[in-house]
Point group: C2
Chain length 194, copies 2
DNA sequence: GAACCAGACGCAACTCCTTCGCGTTAAGCT
DNA sequence: AGCTTAACGCGAAGGAGTTGCGTCTGGTTC
């Protein structure tokens, strides 16, 4: 049902998918996300609307695909010399990007794809890959490293929960507090009031 | 923009809102959620489609309102005699309800409402109220009680993250593991592999 | 390398969701 | 009771979403 598993990866189908995705990005930048419609996107991409409906089935599904691509990290997390520094830097950047208006829109769009496994799981996989890379690097230094599952539970999940459900309660030092909780160290000064 | 803050809470407006909400629930049970359309709902509710569009602006917004109402807990958490037992029972029930097909649909619908504060925050408030009630009761017994913020971070957020992003990775004893992490006790046997 | 098969696309017509202006109704207030 | 204004009903116009059919292209097989 999704366009990802195209049965014909090469040739025309690939060109259509590429041009449609590009049209979404262009029009989103020009007109804003709320102005996007399938006929508009199709016209910009040089295809007919029915093609888009057949491949993606829905505007939501198409936007979900594009959103997941934009959420894909473009590089491995930077090396700051220690597990704690790496995690804090990564979590801070993650929180910044995801809590922005654009980031929240992409997350929401990504969550709207096919409800079963699919686009949403990819977002989590991206975070897991980054955390795993940080963990492997720290293990190479001889540091004790929490498992990826634990980091997802203790750092990523609370951040995402606040971004999605409590957008107003995302303070500055919160990521530091979460990393400290994950590593068992001291909490950052601006820990939650409890 | 949302229908909640109706400037005229009484009289006809209230009747319209009530009948429209009821129509959504009825039609959702009869035809399934995907078959819902604004004209259909309006006809069942005995109003014109333009009324629905004016009040809610969008089918998504209307479904978001209805979903939040369905996510509202109908009773205070049961008393099992101890903080740990109360938390485990509540978390297990929460996970069950939210990870079901209907629960996930309601959560997704609720998240689609007005992006700023609104319906999504209500969902979190519901959980916070329940946790606070459990906490107050435990404090009355003389138990040491983690703050609501901590419980949201350590128990609710990981559950919700898995439900939304990793629907396949929600094992049986996971909630027990999370409660144990929150209370500092031993982990349940089926803890994550890390 | 040439013919075959199947999936994907373009085209066009149809349905109906969505929007908007205007007149009417009723809720809240003095 | 009269007034003000928000909310609703109605109807028309525009546009999104859907579908059937023919054509084309990419992959496969002989």
């Amino acid at each position: 049902m999704s366009a990802r598993a195209t049965t014909r990866p090469g040739g025309r189908s690939a060109r259509v998918q590429q041009s449609v995705h590009q049209a979404v990005r262009d029009l989103e930048a020009e007109l804003g996300r709320d102005a996007l419609t399938v006929p508009l996107i199709a016209a910009r991409a040089g295809v007919t609307p029915s093609t888009v409906y057949r491949r993606w089935g829905d505007l939501r599904e198409l936007l979900s695909d594009v959103a997941v691509e934009r959420l894909r990290p473009d590089a491995l997390p930077a090396d700051h010399g220690s597990l704690r520094a790496d995690l804090e830097a990564w979590a801070a950047q993650f929180a910044d990007e995801m809590s922005s208006a654009a980031g929240r829109t992409y997350i929401r769009d990504a969550l709207l794809g096919d409800p079963e496994q699919g686009n949403a799981a990819r977002c989590s996989d991206y975070a897991a890959e980054q955390l795993k890379a940080i963990g492997v690097r720290a293990a190479g230094r001889g540091e004790a490293v929490p498992g990826v599952e634990t980091l997802l539970d203790v750092v990523v999940a609370p951040l995402m929960y606040r971004i999605l459900f409590r957008p107003s309660d995302l303070s500055e030092g919160y990521t530091g507090h979460l990393v400290a909780a994950a590593l068992g160290g001291d909490s950052a000064p601006s820990a939650p009031k409890s």
